[in-house]
Protein backbone atom coordinates (compact mmCIF):
# COMPACT_ATOMS: atom_id res chain seq x y z
CA UNK A 1 0.00 0.00 0.00
CA UNK A 2 2.82 2.40 0.89
CA UNK A 3 4.48 1.52 -2.41
CA UNK A 4 1.35 2.65 -4.25
CA UNK A 5 1.22 5.92 -2.28
CA UNK A 6 4.87 6.64 -3.08
CA UNK A 7 4.39 5.85 -6.75
CA UNK A 8 1.23 7.95 -7.01
CA UNK A 9 2.72 10.98 -5.25
CA UNK A 10 5.70 10.73 -7.53
CA UNK A 11 3.54 10.64 -10.63
CA UNK A 12 1.43 13.61 -9.45
CA UNK A 13 4.53 15.75 -9.07
CA UNK A 14 6.35 14.36 -12.06
CA UNK A 15 3.50 15.46 -14.28
CA UNK A 16 1.38 18.59 -14.20
CA UNK A 17 -1.59 17.30 -12.27
CA UNK A 18 -0.23 17.67 -8.75
CA UNK A 19 1.02 21.20 -9.33
CA UNK A 20 -2.18 22.28 -11.05
CA UNK A 21 -4.19 20.92 -8.12
CA UNK A 22 -1.98 22.74 -5.59
CA UNK A 23 -2.16 25.94 -7.58
CA UNK A 24 -5.94 25.76 -7.77
CA UNK A 25 -6.43 25.33 -4.03
CA UNK A 26 -3.78 27.87 -3.04
CA UNK A 27 -4.95 30.43 -5.59
CA UNK A 28 -8.58 30.20 -4.46
CA UNK A 29 -7.64 30.46 -0.78
CA UNK A 30 -5.22 33.26 -1.54
CA UNK A 31 -7.81 35.30 -3.42
CA UNK A 32 -10.44 34.87 -0.71
CA UNK A 33 -7.95 35.66 2.04
CA UNK A 34 -6.92 38.80 0.19
CA UNK A 35 -10.49 39.90 -0.47
CA UNK A 36 -12.20 38.90 2.78
CA UNK A 37 -9.49 39.20 5.39
CA UNK A 38 -7.10 41.77 4.01
CA UNK A 39 -9.28 44.04 1.93
CA UNK A 40 -12.64 43.83 3.71
CA UNK A 41 -11.08 43.19 7.10
CA UNK A 42 -13.29 40.32 8.32
CA UNK A 43 -11.89 38.84 11.51
CA UNK A 44 -13.58 35.51 10.76
CA UNK A 45 -11.19 33.46 8.62
CA UNK A 46 -13.72 30.59 8.46
CA UNK A 47 -15.49 32.57 5.73
CA UNK A 48 -12.57 31.81 3.45
CA UNK A 49 -12.98 28.01 3.29
CA UNK A 50 -16.76 28.46 3.32
CA UNK A 51 -16.58 30.61 0.20
CA UNK A 52 -13.77 28.60 -1.40
CA UNK A 53 -15.62 25.29 -1.32
CA UNK A 54 -16.70 25.57 -4.97
CA UNK A 55 -13.05 24.94 -5.90
CA UNK A 56 -13.67 21.28 -5.10
CA UNK A 57 -16.01 21.05 -8.09
CA UNK A 58 -12.97 21.35 -10.35
CA UNK A 59 -10.12 20.30 -8.08
CA UNK A 60 -11.54 16.93 -6.97
CA UNK A 61 -12.27 15.59 -10.48
CA UNK A 62 -8.75 16.70 -11.47
CA UNK A 63 -7.30 14.90 -8.49
CA UNK A 64 -9.11 11.59 -8.88
CA UNK A 65 -9.76 11.28 -12.60
CA UNK A 66 -6.64 9.31 -13.40
CA UNK A 67 -6.11 7.35 -10.24
CA UNK A 68 -7.75 4.04 -11.15
CA UNK A 69 -9.00 4.55 -14.69
CA UNK A 70 -5.54 5.39 -16.01
CA UNK A 71 -4.15 2.12 -14.68
CA UNK A 72 -6.73 0.25 -16.66
CA UNK A 73 -6.33 2.35 -19.78
CA UNK A 74 -2.56 1.77 -19.78
CA UNK A 75 -3.04 -1.91 -18.80
CA UNK A 76 -0.78 -1.41 -15.82
CA UNK A 77 -3.55 -2.78 -13.60
CA UNK A 78 -2.38 -6.25 -14.62
CA UNK A 79 0.96 -5.59 -12.98
CA UNK A 80 -0.79 -4.69 -9.74
CA UNK A 81 -3.09 -7.71 -9.97
CA UNK A 82 -0.23 -10.11 -10.55
CA UNK A 83 1.67 -8.71 -7.57
CA UNK A 84 1.00 -9.55 -3.97
CA UNK A 85 -1.27 -6.53 -3.51
CA UNK A 86 -4.93 -7.06 -2.73
CA UNK A 87 -7.64 -4.91 -4.31
CA UNK A 88 -8.06 -3.17 -0.97
CA UNK A 89 -4.31 -2.36 -0.89
CA UNK A 90 -4.52 -0.83 -4.35
CA UNK A 91 -7.62 1.27 -3.70
CA UNK A 92 -6.58 2.35 -0.21
CA UNK A 93 -3.16 3.34 -1.54
CA UNK A 94 -4.79 5.47 -4.21
CA UNK A 95 -7.21 7.00 -1.71
CA UNK A 96 -4.52 7.75 0.82
CA UNK A 97 -2.61 9.55 -1.91
CA UNK A 98 -5.52 11.86 -2.66
CA UNK A 99 -5.94 12.53 1.06
CA UNK A 100 -2.26 13.48 1.29
CA UNK A 101 -2.56 15.61 -1.84
CA UNK A 102 -5.51 17.37 -0.24
CA UNK A 103 -3.82 17.83 3.13
CA UNK A 104 -0.65 19.44 1.76
CA UNK A 105 -2.09 22.69 0.32
CA UNK A 106 -4.63 22.93 3.14
CA UNK A 107 -1.80 22.72 5.66
CA UNK A 108 -0.25 25.73 3.94
CA UNK A 109 -3.61 27.53 4.10
CA UNK A 110 -3.83 26.77 7.82
CA UNK A 111 -0.86 29.12 8.30
CA UNK A 112 -2.80 32.14 6.99
CA UNK A 113 -4.97 32.67 10.11
CA UNK A 114 -1.84 32.41 12.28
CA UNK A 115 -0.18 35.13 10.22
CA UNK A 116 -3.35 37.23 10.35
CA UNK A 117 -3.63 36.84 14.12
CA UNK A 118 -0.40 38.84 14.36
CA UNK A 119 -2.34 41.86 13.13
CA UNK A 120 -5.61 41.41 15.00
CA UNK A 121 -7.88 38.96 16.76
CA UNK A 122 -8.84 35.89 14.67
CA UNK A 123 -11.43 33.35 15.91
CA UNK A 124 -8.98 30.46 15.69
CA UNK A 125 -11.40 27.82 17.09
CA UNK A 126 -14.08 28.46 14.49
CA UNK A 127 -11.46 28.82 11.78
CA UNK A 128 -9.74 25.51 12.40
CA UNK A 129 -13.03 23.65 12.93
CA UNK A 130 -14.14 24.91 9.52
CA UNK A 131 -10.79 23.98 7.99
CA UNK A 132 -11.16 20.47 9.43
CA UNK A 133 -14.68 20.19 8.02
CA UNK A 134 -13.39 21.53 4.69
CA UNK A 135 -10.66 18.88 4.65
CA UNK A 136 -13.05 16.06 5.55
CA UNK A 137 -15.50 17.27 2.91
CA UNK A 138 -12.63 16.98 0.44
CA UNK A 139 -11.92 13.46 1.69
CA UNK A 140 -15.55 12.44 1.17
CA UNK A 141 -15.66 13.99 -2.30
CA UNK A 142 -12.41 12.39 -3.41
CA UNK A 143 -13.78 9.00 -2.31
CA UNK A 144 -16.70 9.65 -4.67
CA UNK A 145 -14.27 10.65 -7.42
CA UNK A 146 -12.19 7.54 -6.76
CA UNK A 147 -15.25 5.37 -7.12
CA UNK A 148 -16.10 6.87 -10.51
CA UNK A 149 -12.48 6.44 -11.52
CA UNK A 150 -12.79 2.77 -10.58
CA UNK A 151 -15.75 2.14 -12.85
CA UNK A 152 -14.52 3.98 -15.95
CA UNK A 153 -11.61 3.37 -18.33
CA UNK A 154 -11.26 6.89 -19.59
CA UNK A 155 -9.95 9.57 -17.19
CA UNK A 156 -12.00 12.27 -18.90
CA UNK A 157 -15.23 10.35 -18.57
CA UNK A 158 -14.34 9.77 -14.93
CA UNK A 159 -13.73 13.50 -14.43
CA UNK A 160 -16.98 14.45 -16.16
CA UNK A 161 -19.09 12.01 -14.14
CA UNK A 162 -17.43 13.09 -10.90
CA UNK A 163 -18.04 16.72 -11.77
CA UNK A 164 -21.74 16.03 -12.36
CA UNK A 165 -22.06 14.13 -9.08
CA UNK A 166 -20.33 16.91 -7.14
CA UNK A 167 -22.41 19.55 -8.88
CA UNK A 168 -25.53 17.68 -7.78
CA UNK A 169 -24.27 17.59 -4.18
CA UNK A 170 -23.44 21.30 -4.43
CA UNK A 171 -26.93 22.33 -5.52
CA UNK A 172 -28.87 19.55 -3.80
CA UNK A 173 -30.31 21.71 -1.02
CA UNK A 174 -31.61 24.24 -3.56
CA UNK A 175 -32.99 21.47 -5.78
CA UNK A 176 -34.75 19.86 -2.81
CA UNK A 177 -36.63 23.02 -1.97
CA UNK A 178 -37.71 23.40 -5.61
CA UNK A 179 -39.33 19.96 -5.86
CA UNK A 180 -42.99 19.31 -5.12
CA UNK A 181 -43.60 18.41 -1.51
CA UNK A 182 -46.99 16.64 -1.74
CA UNK A 183 -47.10 13.22 -0.06
CA UNK A 184 -48.07 11.38 -3.24
CA UNK A 185 -45.20 13.06 -5.11
CA UNK A 186 -42.84 11.95 -2.36
CA UNK A 187 -44.10 8.38 -2.73
CA UNK A 188 -43.52 8.52 -6.49
CA UNK A 189 -40.08 10.04 -5.98
CA UNK A 190 -38.97 7.32 -3.58
CA UNK A 191 -40.52 4.61 -5.80
CA UNK A 192 -38.42 5.87 -8.67
CA UNK A 193 -35.41 5.78 -6.38
CA UNK A 194 -36.23 2.18 -5.39
CA UNK A 195 -36.49 1.29 -9.07
CA UNK A 196 -33.08 2.85 -9.69
CA UNK A 197 -31.59 0.86 -6.80
CA UNK A 198 -33.10 -2.34 -8.21
CA UNK A 199 -31.77 -1.54 -11.68
CA UNK A 200 -28.31 -0.93 -10.26
CA UNK A 201 -28.51 -4.24 -8.41
CA UNK A 202 -29.46 -6.00 -11.63
CA UNK A 203 -26.52 -4.46 -13.46
CA UNK A 204 -24.08 -5.37 -10.70
CA UNK A 205 -25.27 -8.89 -9.92
CA UNK A 206 -26.80 -9.83 -13.30
CA UNK A 207 -29.53 -11.45 -11.25
CA UNK A 208 -33.14 -10.54 -12.02
CA UNK A 209 -34.47 -12.31 -8.94
CA UNK A 210 -32.32 -10.37 -6.46
CA UNK A 211 -33.20 -7.09 -8.15
CA UNK A 212 -36.88 -7.98 -8.18
CA UNK A 213 -36.92 -8.93 -4.51
CA UNK A 214 -35.05 -5.76 -3.56
CA UNK A 215 -37.54 -3.64 -5.48
CA UNK A 216 -40.54 -5.49 -3.98
CA UNK A 217 -39.23 -5.06 -0.42
CA UNK A 218 -38.46 -1.36 -0.86
CA UNK A 219 -41.76 -0.67 -2.56
CA UNK A 220 -43.72 -2.60 0.08
CA UNK A 221 -42.04 -0.58 2.82
CA UNK A 222 -42.86 2.66 1.00
CA UNK A 223 -46.51 1.68 0.55
CA UNK A 224 -46.73 0.69 4.22
CA UNK A 225 -45.45 4.10 5.24
CA UNK A 226 -47.77 5.79 2.72
CA UNK A 227 -50.87 4.09 4.08
CA UNK A 228 -50.01 3.78 7.78
CA UNK A 229 -47.90 6.83 8.54
CA UNK A 230 -48.14 9.29 5.65
CA UNK A 231 -46.84 12.03 7.90
CA UNK A 232 -43.36 10.54 7.57
CA UNK A 233 -43.34 11.33 3.86
CA UNK A 234 -44.16 14.97 4.43
CA UNK A 235 -41.13 17.01 3.49
CA UNK A 236 -39.11 13.86 3.06
CA UNK A 237 -37.92 14.74 -0.44
CA UNK A 238 -36.33 17.95 0.77
CA UNK A 239 -34.87 16.00 3.68
CA UNK A 240 -33.35 13.42 1.29
CA UNK A 241 -31.85 16.17 -0.83
CA UNK A 242 -30.42 17.95 2.18
CA UNK A 243 -28.80 14.62 3.07
CA UNK A 244 -26.67 14.67 -0.06
CA UNK A 245 -26.11 18.42 0.10
CA UNK A 246 -22.60 17.88 1.40
CA UNK A 247 -21.30 21.36 0.69
CA UNK A 248 -24.10 23.20 2.50
CA UNK A 249 -23.16 21.54 5.79
CA UNK A 250 -20.08 23.73 5.97
CA UNK A 251 -22.26 26.69 6.85
CA UNK A 252 -22.87 25.65 10.45
CA UNK A 253 -19.11 25.32 11.02
CA UNK A 254 -18.60 28.80 9.72
CA UNK A 255 -21.32 29.95 12.14
CA UNK A 256 -19.26 28.57 14.98
CA UNK A 257 -21.07 25.26 15.51
CA UNK A 258 -19.01 22.08 15.67
CA UNK A 259 -21.47 19.88 13.78
CA UNK A 260 -20.32 16.39 14.72
CA UNK A 261 -23.03 14.67 12.67
CA UNK A 262 -21.68 16.36 9.55
CA UNK A 263 -18.14 15.20 10.35
CA UNK A 264 -19.40 11.67 10.91
CA UNK A 265 -21.32 11.85 7.68
CA UNK A 266 -18.24 12.97 5.74
CA UNK A 267 -16.17 10.17 7.23
CA UNK A 268 -18.79 7.50 6.66
CA UNK A 269 -19.37 8.65 3.09
CA UNK A 270 -15.64 8.46 2.46
CA UNK A 271 -15.59 4.95 3.91
CA UNK A 272 -18.62 3.89 1.91
CA UNK A 273 -17.30 5.08 -1.44
CA UNK A 274 -13.84 3.65 -0.83
CA UNK A 275 -15.58 0.37 -0.08
CA UNK A 276 -17.56 0.67 -3.32
CA UNK A 277 -14.36 1.40 -5.21
CA UNK A 278 -12.71 -1.71 -3.72
CA UNK A 279 -15.73 -3.77 -4.77
CA UNK A 280 -15.61 -2.29 -8.28
CA UNK A 281 -11.92 -3.17 -8.63
CA UNK A 282 -12.50 -6.62 -7.19
CA UNK A 283 -15.29 -7.22 -9.66
CA UNK A 284 -13.22 -6.02 -12.63
CA UNK A 285 -10.34 -8.14 -11.49
CA UNK A 286 -12.22 -11.37 -11.25
CA UNK A 287 -14.71 -11.28 -14.07
Amino acid sequence: MIAIVKKELRSYFHGMMGWVFFALILLTFGIYTAVLSLSKGYADFSLVPYNAQFVYLIAIPLLTMRSLSEERRAHTDQLLYSSSLSSADIVLGKYLTSVVMLALPLAVCCLYPLVLSGYGRVALGTTYATMLAFFLLGCALSAIGLFFSAITTNPFVSAAVTFCALLFCYFASDLGSLLSVSILAALLFFSALALAVAALLRVLTKNWLAAGIAFAVLEAALLLIYFLAPGLLDGSVAWAFSGVALFAKLESFSNGILDLTALVQYLSLAGLFVFFAIQAVEKRRWS
Partner: protein, 319 residues
Amino acid sequence: MIEVEVRHLTKQYENHLAIDDISFSIETGRIYGFLGPNGAGKSTTMNIIAGCLAATSGDVLIENHDIFEEQQEAKRHIGYLPELPPLYLDMTPREYLAFVCEIKRVPKAERATAINENMRRTGLLDVANRQIGQLSKGYRQRVGIAQALVGNPEVIVLDEPTVGLDPAQIVEIRELVRELGKDHTVLLSSHILSEVSELCDEVLILSKGKLVARNTPEKLGELLGSGNRLYMVVEGGEDSVRAVLESTGIAGTLRLKSAGAGRVSVEAEADEEAKERIFYAFAQAKMMIREMRSEKITLEEIFLEYTGLGKGEAHDRNR
Protein backbone atom coordinates in the same frame (compact mmCIF):
# COMPACT_ATOMS: atom_id res chain seq x y z
CA MET B 1 9.15 -31.76 -10.81
CA ILE B 2 5.77 -30.29 -11.73
CA GLU B 3 5.81 -26.49 -11.50
CA VAL B 4 2.36 -25.61 -12.73
CA GLU B 5 -0.64 -27.84 -12.79
CA VAL B 6 -3.86 -26.81 -14.47
CA ARG B 7 -6.89 -29.00 -13.84
CA HIS B 8 -10.19 -28.79 -15.73
CA LEU B 9 -9.89 -25.07 -16.17
CA THR B 10 -12.97 -23.40 -17.62
CA LYS B 11 -13.70 -19.73 -18.15
CA GLN B 12 -17.18 -18.74 -19.16
CA TYR B 13 -17.84 -15.17 -20.16
CA GLU B 14 -21.39 -13.97 -20.32
CA ASN B 15 -22.04 -15.35 -23.75
CA HIS B 16 -18.99 -17.23 -24.83
CA LEU B 17 -16.78 -19.97 -23.54
CA ALA B 18 -13.20 -18.65 -23.53
CA ILE B 19 -11.60 -21.78 -22.10
CA ASP B 20 -13.23 -25.17 -22.18
CA ASP B 21 -11.99 -27.73 -19.65
CA ILE B 22 -8.23 -27.43 -20.13
CA SER B 23 -5.87 -29.65 -18.14
CA PHE B 24 -2.10 -29.78 -18.41
CA SER B 25 1.01 -29.55 -16.31
CA ILE B 26 4.41 -28.07 -16.97
CA GLU B 27 7.69 -29.24 -15.55
CA THR B 28 10.92 -27.68 -14.34
CA GLY B 29 13.47 -26.26 -16.71
CA ARG B 30 11.73 -26.42 -20.04
CA ILE B 31 10.28 -23.88 -22.43
CA TYR B 32 6.64 -24.40 -23.25
CA GLY B 33 4.79 -22.75 -26.08
CA PHE B 34 1.11 -21.98 -26.26
CA LEU B 35 0.13 -21.95 -29.88
CA GLY B 36 -3.20 -20.95 -31.25
CA PRO B 37 -5.01 -18.50 -33.47
CA ASN B 38 -6.22 -15.22 -32.01
CA GLY B 39 -9.11 -15.78 -29.66
CA ALA B 40 -8.15 -19.37 -28.87
CA GLY B 41 -7.91 -18.62 -25.15
CA LYS B 42 -4.15 -18.24 -24.78
CA SER B 43 -4.21 -14.89 -22.99
CA THR B 44 -7.16 -15.87 -20.82
CA THR B 45 -5.40 -19.03 -19.69
CA MET B 46 -2.21 -17.09 -18.93
CA ASN B 47 -4.13 -14.40 -17.07
CA ILE B 48 -5.68 -17.05 -14.87
CA ILE B 49 -2.38 -18.82 -14.24
CA ALA B 50 -0.82 -15.49 -13.23
CA GLY B 51 -3.63 -14.76 -10.79
CA CYS B 52 -5.05 -11.78 -12.67
CA LEU B 53 -8.37 -13.38 -13.46
CA ALA B 54 -10.72 -15.84 -11.84
CA ALA B 55 -11.76 -19.08 -13.51
CA THR B 56 -15.35 -20.24 -13.72
CA SER B 57 -14.25 -23.68 -12.56
CA GLY B 58 -11.08 -25.73 -12.25
CA ASP B 59 -7.82 -25.36 -10.33
CA VAL B 60 -4.41 -23.90 -10.98
CA LEU B 61 -1.58 -25.08 -8.74
CA ILE B 62 1.76 -23.27 -8.79
CA GLU B 63 4.42 -25.16 -6.87
CA ASN B 64 1.48 -26.90 -5.17
CA HIS B 65 -0.09 -23.64 -4.09
CA ASP B 66 -3.59 -22.93 -5.31
CA ILE B 67 -3.60 -19.59 -7.17
CA PHE B 68 -7.11 -18.81 -5.95
CA GLU B 69 -6.80 -20.01 -2.36
CA GLU B 70 -3.18 -19.17 -1.51
CA GLN B 71 -2.64 -16.20 -3.79
CA GLN B 72 0.32 -14.67 -1.98
CA GLU B 73 2.29 -17.87 -1.81
CA ALA B 74 1.47 -18.95 -5.38
CA LYS B 75 2.27 -15.56 -6.91
CA ARG B 76 5.74 -15.60 -5.40
CA HIS B 77 6.64 -18.40 -7.76
CA ILE B 78 5.39 -16.85 -10.94
CA GLY B 79 6.41 -13.88 -13.06
CA TYR B 80 4.05 -12.61 -15.71
CA LEU B 81 4.41 -10.42 -18.76
CA PRO B 82 0.94 -9.65 -20.13
CA GLU B 83 0.30 -9.13 -23.83
CA LEU B 84 0.71 -5.36 -23.44
CA PRO B 85 3.67 -4.74 -21.12
CA PRO B 86 2.28 -2.99 -18.01
CA LEU B 87 4.69 -0.06 -17.95
CA TYR B 88 4.49 3.37 -16.36
CA LEU B 89 5.83 5.51 -19.15
CA ASP B 90 6.88 8.38 -16.88
CA MET B 91 9.28 6.20 -14.89
CA THR B 92 12.79 5.09 -15.72
CA PRO B 93 13.45 1.34 -15.86
CA ARG B 94 15.31 1.62 -12.56
CA GLU B 95 12.43 3.38 -10.79
CA TYR B 96 9.94 1.03 -12.36
CA LEU B 97 11.78 -2.08 -11.21
CA ALA B 98 12.15 -0.58 -7.74
CA PHE B 99 8.38 -0.15 -7.61
CA VAL B 100 7.82 -3.71 -8.81
CA CYS B 101 10.24 -4.96 -6.13
CA GLU B 102 8.14 -3.19 -3.52
CA ILE B 103 4.78 -4.52 -4.63
CA LYS B 104 6.20 -8.02 -4.99
CA ARG B 105 7.58 -7.79 -1.46
CA VAL B 106 11.23 -8.33 -2.31
CA PRO B 107 13.12 -7.80 0.98
CA LYS B 108 14.62 -4.32 1.16
CA ALA B 109 18.18 -5.52 1.53
CA GLU B 110 18.02 -7.51 -1.69
CA ARG B 111 16.37 -4.87 -3.86
CA ALA B 112 19.39 -3.01 -5.20
CA THR B 113 21.17 -6.20 -6.26
CA ALA B 114 17.96 -7.69 -7.67
CA ILE B 115 17.32 -4.60 -9.80
CA ASN B 116 20.87 -4.49 -11.15
CA GLU B 117 20.92 -8.20 -11.82
CA ASN B 118 17.60 -8.08 -13.67
CA MET B 119 18.73 -5.15 -15.78
CA ARG B 120 21.97 -6.92 -16.61
CA ARG B 121 20.16 -10.08 -17.68
CA THR B 122 17.72 -8.21 -19.86
CA GLY B 123 20.33 -5.81 -21.27
CA LEU B 124 18.79 -2.67 -19.80
CA LEU B 125 21.82 -1.19 -18.07
CA ASP B 126 22.44 1.29 -20.89
CA VAL B 127 18.96 2.78 -20.61
CA ALA B 128 18.51 2.40 -16.85
CA ASN B 129 17.92 6.09 -16.27
CA ARG B 130 15.95 7.05 -19.36
CA GLN B 131 12.20 7.42 -19.29
CA ILE B 132 10.40 4.28 -20.39
CA GLY B 133 8.17 6.41 -22.63
CA GLN B 134 11.23 7.35 -24.69
CA LEU B 135 12.47 3.78 -25.16
CA SER B 136 11.95 1.71 -28.29
CA LYS B 137 9.39 -1.07 -28.31
CA GLY B 138 12.12 -3.67 -28.02
CA TYR B 139 13.52 -2.06 -24.90
CA ARG B 140 10.05 -1.67 -23.43
CA GLN B 141 9.50 -5.36 -23.94
CA ARG B 142 12.76 -5.98 -22.11
CA VAL B 143 11.58 -3.83 -19.23
CA GLY B 144 8.41 -5.93 -19.19
CA ILE B 145 10.44 -9.11 -19.06
CA ALA B 146 12.70 -7.67 -16.35
CA GLN B 147 9.54 -6.98 -14.36
CA ALA B 148 8.48 -10.62 -14.68
CA LEU B 149 11.89 -11.68 -13.36
CA VAL B 150 11.58 -9.65 -10.16
CA GLY B 151 11.62 -11.92 -7.12
CA ASN B 152 13.34 -14.60 -9.18
CA PRO B 153 10.25 -16.77 -9.68
CA GLU B 154 10.59 -20.35 -10.88
CA VAL B 155 7.93 -19.96 -13.57
CA ILE B 156 7.86 -17.16 -16.11
CA VAL B 157 4.77 -16.61 -18.22
CA LEU B 158 5.23 -14.46 -21.31
CA ASP B 159 2.19 -13.57 -23.39
CA GLU B 160 3.25 -12.96 -27.02
CA PRO B 161 6.66 -11.57 -26.07
CA THR B 162 7.68 -10.73 -29.65
CA VAL B 163 4.49 -9.26 -31.01
CA GLY B 164 4.88 -5.83 -32.60
CA LEU B 165 8.68 -5.87 -32.67
CA ASP B 166 10.90 -5.46 -35.70
CA PRO B 167 12.86 -8.50 -36.96
CA ALA B 168 16.10 -7.55 -35.23
CA GLN B 169 14.30 -7.01 -31.93
CA ILE B 170 12.45 -10.30 -32.35
CA VAL B 171 15.74 -12.13 -32.66
CA GLU B 172 17.06 -10.38 -29.54
CA ILE B 173 14.00 -11.17 -27.46
CA ARG B 174 14.06 -14.80 -28.59
CA GLU B 175 17.68 -15.01 -27.58
CA LEU B 176 16.74 -13.58 -24.20
CA VAL B 177 13.90 -16.07 -23.75
CA ARG B 178 16.23 -18.93 -24.61
CA GLU B 179 18.67 -17.60 -22.03
CA LEU B 180 15.91 -17.44 -19.41
CA GLY B 181 14.93 -21.00 -20.22
CA LYS B 182 18.20 -22.14 -18.69
CA ASP B 183 17.27 -21.02 -15.16
CA HIS B 184 13.50 -20.81 -15.29
CA THR B 185 10.52 -22.69 -16.56
CA VAL B 186 9.08 -20.57 -19.32
CA LEU B 187 5.57 -20.64 -20.69
CA LEU B 188 5.15 -18.38 -23.69
CA SER B 189 2.39 -17.88 -26.16
CA SER B 190 2.64 -17.03 -29.78
CA HIS B 191 0.82 -17.30 -33.02
CA ILE B 192 4.11 -17.33 -34.90
CA LEU B 193 4.77 -20.96 -35.63
CA SER B 194 8.44 -20.74 -36.46
CA GLU B 195 9.02 -19.00 -33.15
CA VAL B 196 7.46 -21.79 -31.16
CA SER B 197 9.20 -24.56 -33.06
CA GLU B 198 12.50 -22.76 -32.69
CA LEU B 199 12.25 -21.87 -29.01
CA CYS B 200 10.08 -24.41 -27.29
CA ASP B 201 10.75 -27.86 -25.96
CA GLU B 202 7.07 -28.59 -25.95
CA VAL B 203 4.08 -27.16 -27.76
CA LEU B 204 0.51 -26.91 -26.53
CA ILE B 205 -1.96 -26.15 -29.27
CA LEU B 206 -5.13 -24.34 -28.27
CA SER B 207 -8.10 -23.95 -30.49
CA LYS B 208 -11.47 -22.44 -29.58
CA GLY B 209 -10.69 -22.73 -25.89
CA LYS B 210 -9.70 -26.38 -26.04
CA LEU B 211 -6.29 -27.97 -25.71
CA VAL B 212 -6.14 -29.95 -28.93
CA ALA B 213 -2.57 -31.23 -28.91
CA ARG B 214 0.48 -31.30 -26.75
CA ASN B 215 3.89 -32.66 -27.61
CA THR B 216 7.37 -31.77 -28.75
CA PRO B 217 7.43 -30.03 -32.14
CA GLU B 218 9.00 -33.14 -33.72
CA LYS B 219 6.61 -35.63 -32.14
CA LEU B 220 3.59 -33.63 -33.23
CA GLY B 221 4.72 -34.10 -36.80
CA GLU B 222 5.10 -37.82 -36.37
CA LEU B 223 1.61 -38.09 -34.95
CA LEU B 224 0.19 -36.67 -38.12
CA GLY B 225 2.01 -39.06 -40.37
CA SER B 226 5.39 -40.70 -40.36
CA GLY B 227 6.78 -37.22 -40.51
CA ASN B 228 8.70 -38.05 -43.65
CA ARG B 229 7.17 -37.24 -46.93
CA LEU B 230 8.82 -38.25 -50.14
CA TYR B 231 8.53 -36.38 -53.41
CA MET B 232 9.85 -37.96 -56.59
CA VAL B 233 9.75 -37.39 -60.28
CA VAL B 234 10.32 -40.56 -62.29
CA GLU B 235 10.52 -41.14 -66.03
CA GLY B 236 8.01 -43.70 -67.23
CA GLY B 237 4.33 -44.52 -67.42
CA GLU B 238 2.02 -44.10 -64.47
CA ASP B 239 1.16 -47.80 -64.26
CA SER B 240 4.73 -49.04 -64.37
CA VAL B 241 5.80 -46.53 -61.71
CA ARG B 242 2.97 -47.68 -59.47
CA ALA B 243 3.95 -51.30 -60.02
CA VAL B 244 7.56 -50.66 -59.05
CA LEU B 245 6.57 -48.69 -55.96
CA GLU B 246 4.17 -51.38 -54.81
CA SER B 247 6.83 -54.03 -55.26
CA THR B 248 8.90 -52.27 -52.59
CA GLY B 249 6.00 -52.71 -50.22
CA ILE B 250 5.69 -49.13 -48.98
CA ALA B 251 2.77 -48.43 -46.76
CA GLY B 252 0.38 -45.52 -46.70
CA THR B 253 -1.12 -43.49 -49.46
CA LEU B 254 0.49 -43.09 -52.80
CA ARG B 255 -0.25 -40.12 -54.97
CA LEU B 256 0.76 -40.28 -58.60
CA LYS B 257 0.33 -37.58 -61.16
CA SER B 258 1.54 -37.15 -64.67
CA ALA B 259 4.13 -34.38 -64.80
CA GLY B 260 4.20 -34.25 -68.61
CA ALA B 261 7.03 -35.24 -71.00
CA GLY B 262 6.72 -38.89 -70.01
CA ARG B 263 7.36 -38.19 -66.37
CA VAL B 264 5.33 -39.03 -63.30
CA SER B 265 5.45 -37.20 -59.99
CA VAL B 266 5.06 -39.25 -56.85
CA GLU B 267 4.15 -38.32 -53.32
CA ALA B 268 4.40 -40.96 -50.64
CA GLU B 269 5.19 -41.64 -47.01
CA ALA B 270 8.58 -43.23 -46.65
CA ASP B 271 11.30 -43.48 -44.01
CA GLU B 272 15.02 -43.74 -44.77
CA GLU B 273 14.96 -47.50 -45.28
CA ALA B 274 12.04 -47.40 -47.67
CA LYS B 275 13.74 -44.68 -49.69
CA GLU B 276 16.74 -46.90 -50.22
CA ARG B 277 14.53 -49.75 -51.39
CA ILE B 278 12.66 -47.47 -53.75
CA PHE B 279 15.91 -46.22 -55.25
CA TYR B 280 17.23 -49.70 -56.00
CA ALA B 281 13.84 -50.90 -57.25
CA PHE B 282 13.74 -48.13 -59.84
CA ALA B 283 17.35 -48.77 -60.75
CA GLN B 284 16.57 -52.44 -61.33
CA ALA B 285 13.55 -51.55 -63.46
CA LYS B 286 15.88 -49.23 -65.42
CA MET B 287 13.61 -46.25 -64.79
CA MET B 288 15.31 -42.97 -64.20
CA ILE B 289 14.62 -40.99 -61.04
CA ARG B 290 14.79 -37.32 -62.04
CA GLU B 291 14.20 -35.90 -58.65
CA MET B 292 13.93 -37.28 -55.14
CA ARG B 293 13.58 -35.31 -51.95
CA SER B 294 12.00 -35.75 -48.57
CA GLU B 295 10.30 -33.16 -46.46
CA LYS B 296 9.33 -33.02 -42.82
CA ILE B 297 5.82 -31.90 -41.98
CA THR B 298 6.12 -28.31 -40.82
CA LEU B 299 4.64 -27.00 -37.63
CA GLU B 300 2.46 -24.82 -39.79
CA GLU B 301 0.72 -27.81 -41.24
CA ILE B 302 0.42 -29.44 -37.84
CA PHE B 303 -1.16 -26.29 -36.53
CA LEU B 304 -3.66 -26.01 -39.36
CA GLU B 305 -4.50 -29.65 -39.01
CA TYR B 306 -5.16 -29.54 -35.27
CA THR B 307 -7.00 -26.26 -35.19
CA GLY B 308 -9.12 -27.28 -38.15
CA LEU B 309 -8.28 -24.07 -39.93
CA GLY B 310 -6.69 -25.78 -42.92
CA LYS B 311 -9.62 -28.20 -43.39
CA GLY B 312 -7.27 -30.90 -44.59
CA GLU B 313 -5.98 -28.84 -47.47
CA ALA B 314 -2.64 -28.27 -45.87
CA HIS B 315 -1.02 -31.22 -47.59
CA ASP B 316 -2.07 -30.10 -51.02
CA ARG B 317 -0.26 -26.83 -50.82
CA ASN B 318 2.82 -28.12 -52.57
CA ARG B 319 1.09 -29.34 -55.66
